[in-house]
Assembly symmetry: C2
Homo-oligomer: 157 residues x 2
Amino acid sequence: MVRTETTMATTSLKHPSSDDEAAIRAVFERVGRAHRSKDAAAIVAPYAADAAIFDLAPPLSHRGIDRQGVQAWLDTWEGPIDLETRDLDITVDGNLAVCHGFSRLSGTKSGNGPVSIWLRATVSLRRTEGVWRIVHEHTSVPFYMDGSFRAAVDLKP
Amino acid sequence: MVRTETTMATTSLKHPSSDDEAAIRAVFERVGRAHRSKDAAAIVAPYAADAAIFDLAPPLSHRGIDRQGVQAWLDTWEGPIDLETRDLDITVDGNLAVCHGFSRLSGTKSGNGPVSIWLRATVSLRRTEGVWRIVHEHTSVPFYMDGSFRAAVDLKP
């Protein structure tokens, strides 16, 4: 098993220059660039058709990423969308990888002004015929347990 | 890679009777029983000391499960806590496993009456010296994108 981490110290095995890690980091970098350029096709490209998606918005779960839905969402932003990933922890064994870290989604929402939200993200990938594809993605923010049930969109890692 | 799923049909490899799957399901079953019996020690037992926890409540992330914190949380419930797991998808390769599914947490909160919330849960486990331990857990509900930022605690899978 190969486990690497960008910034957090761990007692685990570390192989920060592994080919697997580089290939998986490249997936995240391409998705980040695709948000900045608002390229729906490039955003959906790494997802398996039946990927189990636990998204920020309801429902609890859905299968696959719909390119037209991504395009409609991109159209709700003015100008580029910035997707910054921090503290990405990647663990690989064989053809399975699991990654977790934080993502900051920021930009300007049409009619609503600037937005900047830190999310938690857990992503699992499977390698098929040499290509790493996202088979599960879970993004969320916590919610306040003060009785308000308000989503905690104001936290920082 | 071994991938199994309780109820959802997939096109993936299926080895529903694998020893790995049975061992991992047993982890979830023990945690479920530990909630019903409100046994803090048994709830924390399967977690690695430095497990990365993305919890329902803030902060975004913390390391490890604190038994005293679990005990304090258990004490906020009257009687047993029911933790039902549904549609648990387990993928294993070597010593790494990633699981995702839904959990219903229900019971009676002291002073607040009955509670029943369906969560999404993603859990990754690592096998060390033959024992599967939880190294990452991400539980959440989505939030409503209607401007209310209200946590969606009323959804069903």
